[in-house]
Every structure is written in C-alpha cells, then in structure tokens.
C-alpha cells in the first residue's frame, strides 16, 4: 500500500478519520456529540454505498432511499415481530435491498431507459413503496414500528449508551469503505469506469454494460439497505414518511456529490461534514428562524454544486497529484 497511490492514500486517510471519530466519540462525555457522530457516520455510509452505482457507475440512481427504507423495515419487522437479532437483520436487509436492486435494474435496463427516465423511475418507486407501506397493516401503516430498549443486550444490538452504536456504525462504514476500495482496484471497477465513460466503447471491449450496471445497482442497494437496518435499530422508531423521505434522500446524495462521488473519500467527507453542519445550523437557527435556515441551506446547496461540481475530493486529488506525482 503506497501513499503515492491516490486510492491507497484515500484508504489510509479514511482509516485515520474513522479512528479519530471513534476516539472522539468514546472519550466524549456528551451523548449529544455521540448522537451527531452516529448520524454523520450513517449518512457517510449511505453516501458511499450510493457512490458505487451513482458515482463509479455513473448511474443516475436518484431514488436511493428505497433501499434504505427497505433495510429499515427489514430490521423493524424482523426484530419486533419475530425477535430476530439486528446483527442478522443487517445481513438480511442487504439481501432484500439487493434483491430490490436487481429487480429495478433488470426491469429498467432492459428498455434502455434514458438517464432522466431512470432517475424519475427510481424516485417514483421510492414514493410508491412509501404509499404501499402507509397502507399496509402488517407494516404498521402510518403508526410505524417502534423498538423499546431500556437495558443492554449485545446479542440484540440494544444499548443504553449511544457509544456502542457509534462503534457499530463505524464498523459498517469500514466494511463499505473496504467494498468501495476493493471494487476500485478490481476488474469490476474497471468495467464500471469503462461503462460510465462510454458505454459503446466498453461494449467494443467485450464488456456487457447491462450486466455491469445491474451488478453495480445490486451492490449499492445491498449496502444502502444494511445501513438502513442499523438506522432503525438506532433511532428506535420508523415510519414510512421518515425512511422513504425524499428530503433525506437528497441530503444523503448531496453529501456524495459535494464530496466527490467518484472517489473513496469524497462521499465520506461530504456527508460527514454536511450532516453535522445541518444539525448545528438547525440548532442555531431553529424555531422561528427556520425559514432563514432553509434559505441558507438551499443557497449553500446551489452555490456548492456550482462552485464544486466535481466535489471537494477533486481538489484533494489535484493536491495529491502535485505532491506525489502521477501514479
């Protein structure tokens, strides 16, 4: 592993970043700080999951929250109705979400839907899922699903303190980082990049664009679903409006895009800065000044998308290139 290699460098820095977060969290005396760190980690994990299909794959997977929501409900239902441990549910959620990914991909890519259509389809699907769950008695309708935890139970991922949740969230993030790293180094990553840059040329090289895209969506979806499952266990109450919320959806994607969706470190950086910034801004402005918060947030979104179209990581990469030369 060489520092001069951009990807390796990102991996190392990500590792340090995670270690720092863990250190701050564990040593903190404030549950508030830990809470913010957990949410930031969750957003970073989702952003990075998305970036595999949405960044590396170049797919306009706009309605990503479907996977997150499916994952959340997987744990919610299996835990509260069948007493299955969240540790298992996280894996199962990845399975269900991956299945959804496969369905979406298999169905839409067959028709060679243009990008915009694909994007709208995924958004529409997320809202359709929301409505289905809102009307389903089994899934709790609008009343949602709640989890009550008052004492520690490692086997059931239930903790009184917020700190164990931070460590688990970071663990999940580590797994996703490893996945993205491995993908970027592998031939799969090469195929993704080829398809992203020029689908026809990739085909000429013998790559099957449709199959590659399907795989990318499945991977992204599965990872996103697993984060959603963890989220439901952490927040202890979910309902369709919350876990299929378009607002949340765009917030998570924004982190990935602003950070730099083609990189390993970009989505983490973007989401991890944006989410706490949001929470703190809300805390500062909150209440009557909510309108002001919205104006600032909207303006921030616009300005940063215009000023940093390739994301912050783009500039970091330029610096890295200058520092280490091309590698």
């Amino acid at each position: 592993m060489k520092m001069s290699n951009w990807l390796d460098w990102q991996l190392i820095v990500s590792g340090i970043f995670i270690a720092a977060i863990a250190a701050i969290g564990v040593s903190s005396t404030s549950d508030y700080v830990v809470q913010i760190l957990v949410l930031a980690t969750i957003y970073a994990a989702v952003a990075l999951s998305w970036s595999i299909a949405g960044g590396l794959g170049g797919l306009l997977l706009l309605g990503f929250i479907s996977f997150y929501g499916i994952g959340a409900y997987t744990n919610g239902i299996l835990f509260t109705k069948y007493g299955i441990s969240p540790w298992i549910n996280i894996v199962l959620a990845a399975g269900f979400a991956g299945l959804l990914g496969w369905l979406i991909a298999a169905v839409t890519l067959r028709y060679e839907l243009s990008e915009d259509y694909f994007a709208m389809f995924t958004v529409g699907l997320s809202q359709a899922l929301k409505i289905v769950l809102l009307n389903s008695e089994y899934f709790g309708r609008a009343t949602g699903i709640y989890i009550t935890i008052v004492k520690d139970d490692w086997a059931m991922m239930s903790f009184v303190s917020r700190k164990p949740y931070l460590l688990i969230a970071l663990l999940i993030l580590v797994v996703i980082i490893a996945a993205s790293y491995w993908i970027q180094r592998s031939t799969f990553g090469f195929r993704l990049a080829a398809v992203r840059q020029n689908s026809r040329a990739a085909e000429a090289l013998g790559i099957n664009p449709v199959k590659t895209k399907i795989q990318a969506i499945i991977v992204s979806g599965a990872l996103g679903g697993s984060v959603g499952a963890f989220y439901s266990q952490f927040v202890t109450f979910i309902d369709p409006k919350q876990v299929f919320s378009l607002a949340t959806n765009f917030e998570m994607l924004l982190g990935a895009v602003l950070g730099g969706r083609l990189t390993l470190i970009g989505p983490i950086l973007g989401a991890a800065t944006l989410k706490p910034l949001q929470d703190v801004l809300r805390g500062v402005f909150g209440g009557e000044a909510d309108a002001l918060y919205l104006v600032l947030y909207g303006a921030l979104l616009i300005v940063s998308c215009l000023a940093l179209p390739k994301g912050i990581a783009f500039y970091i990469e330029k610096w890295h290139r200058k520092r280490y030369g091309n590698s």
Binding site: L60, L62, Y117, F121, G298, I302, C305
Partner: protein
C-alpha cells in the same frame, strides 16, 4: 352510487385534470428545451398562490384579475433564477443539475416562509363555494365555479401556449432548441435567450395555475410539493417528456384516472393510482404516449 354521482366524480376529475395539465405543461416545456428536470416547479406554483393572496389582501383583486400580473411577475423571477442558477449548471453532469434545482426548491420554500410565514392562508372569495348546478339522468351535479373557471382558463392558457409554440417565431425557436440545441445555434438562434424565455414561461405557467386554484385551498410554503409535484411528474412522463400536447392530454387522463381510482379503490389509493401509472408508463411506454418530441 347513482349515475349522476359517477358523472359528478368524473367531471370533477376532468376539472382537476385541467389544472394538472397546466402545471405539467410548464414542467415539460422546461425539460423539452433545456433538458433540465425542474424539481423546483411546485414552488413556483405555491408562489403564484401566495401572490394571489397578497393581491387579494392588499389590493382587493380577485385571483382571476390578478392572474396575468402574477404570470408576469413570476415570469421575470423565473428568468432571473434561470440566469443565476440554472444557466451555469447546464454544463455540469445531470446529477448536479438535479441537485441544484432541488436546492432552488428549498431556497424558495424558505423565502416564501420568510415573506408569508409558515401558517395556512386562504383567499377568502365570497363566492368561493358557489356551485353551478344542473340536472342529469335524474340526479343533480354540482360543480364549484372556482374549479370550473380554473380548469377552463387552464386549458385555454395551455392551448394558447401551444399555439405560441407552433406558430410564432419565438415558439418555433424554442422547439428547434428542444430538438437540437447545436443545430439551432448554428441556425442563428440565441439558445441562451431561448432558455431564459422558456424557464420564465414554464414557471410563469405554474404560478398561473396556483393563482387560479388559490380560493380552493389552504396555502402554506410546502403546498406545491405536498399536493402537486408527484402528479406533475407522472403527467410529464405519461405525455412524453418534452411534449406539450402530451402534458395537456396526460393531465386530463391523470385527473380522470385519479377520480376513477378514488371511486373504485377508495380515497387513500388515489396517489397509488398516479404512482402506478407512473411506474407502468416508465416501464412499458418509456417514451410516453406520444413517442415524439414537442408536436
């Protein structure tokens, strides 16, 4: 369920469809010419409603008199937004464009909340609930004047817009830019100016729709997103993205489909009907019912 009631429901669905159509027309126009999905479209509708309320409270103008002014104001505002926000974004990847219009929508909601507050407001027209009644097949059908006027004006305006697109020079320039921006530019068409006019026009139409329906609803800053944006997107896709007539026809279809859905499946499933249409159209008729572009 008497026949008269069924007819009433379908007629109401048609009226609703008229409004949907006008909202969708603006959205599809913007997409057709600029290839930008304007996620902030609903906010311009809400803006139109708030302007109608202010016109009523400050000047005593009813929304129908104020409508042309509201159109003009939002046309200008839309054009400004286009220059500052959308134009620079056009050279960026799709996802950036989408996030920028989403940012615009958040910004607009915030600004409306600053200007008008978060609470519900309404245009208190004295005749807001008067109805036009007539007998049919032994039963009575009642349609509120507000809805009737709104729908008729909406369809008329959409028709006018279609005429402008087809028969005026600027309109033709818009269609040319929609089909092939590069070729249009080579032909001497100032595509930047066209984009400006298109965005202003499209958002103006949305605001106009808002003004027309304002006496019928409680308005708050998130009204547009809550009530209309999903239907608008469904219609745009159904009618083929970029196809003006498609949006018009699609609007009427969706209005009726929702009415039918409500009739047979119950009110809670109305939204489900729209979304199902959406998903099905995207899957089986991805290019919409009008395979081509702007007619």
């Amino acid at each position: 369920m008497t026949t008269a009631l069924a007819i009433q429901l379908l007629l109401l669905g048609l009226l609703q469809g008229g409004i949907y159509a006008l909202v969708a027309c603006g959205l599809t126009l913007i997409y057709g010419v600029m290839k930008v999905v304007n996620f902030a479209h609903a906010e311009f509708l809400t803006l139109g409603m708030f302007l109608a309320i202010t016109a009523f409270q400050l000047f005593g103008l009813n929304p129908y008199t104020a409508a042309p002014f509201i159109f003009a104001i939002v046309f200008i505002l839309g054009a400004i937004a286009q220059q500052i926000v959308i134009r620079p974004a056009l050279r960026y990847p799709q996802i950036n464009q989408m996030l920028i219009t989403i940012g615009l929508s958040i910004l607009l909601v915030g600004m409306m909340q600053l200007l008008w507050g978060p609470n519900n407001q309404v245009v208190k027209l004295s005749w807001a609930r008067a109805t036009f009644d007539f007998e049919i097949v032994g039963g009575e059908v009642s349609l509120s004047y507000v809805r009737l006027i709104a729908a008729v004006v909406a369809v008329a305006v959409a028709g006018l817009a279609w005429w402008i697109l087809k028969y005026t020079r600027t309109g033709n320039a818009m269609r040319a830019a929609a089909q092939n921006p590069l070729a249009a530019r080579l032909m001497g068409i100032n595509v930047s100016r066209i984009n400006l006019l298109t965005f202003g026009f499209g958002t103006g139409l949305a605001a106009l729709s808002g003004a027309l329906i304002s006496p019928a609803f409680f308005v708050n800053p998130t009204f547009g997103t809550d009530y209309f944006i999903l239907a608008a997107f469904v219609i745009v896709v159904l009618g083929t993205m970029g196809n003006f007539v498609g949006a018009l026809v699609g609007g009427l279809i969706i209005g009726m489909a929702e009415a039918l859905g409500g009739l047979f499946l119950g009110a809670a499933m109305r939204q489900f009907v729209s979304l199902s249409v959406f998903v099905i159209v995207l899957l089986f008729l991805p290019r919409g019912i009008f395979r081509g572009r702007m007619s």
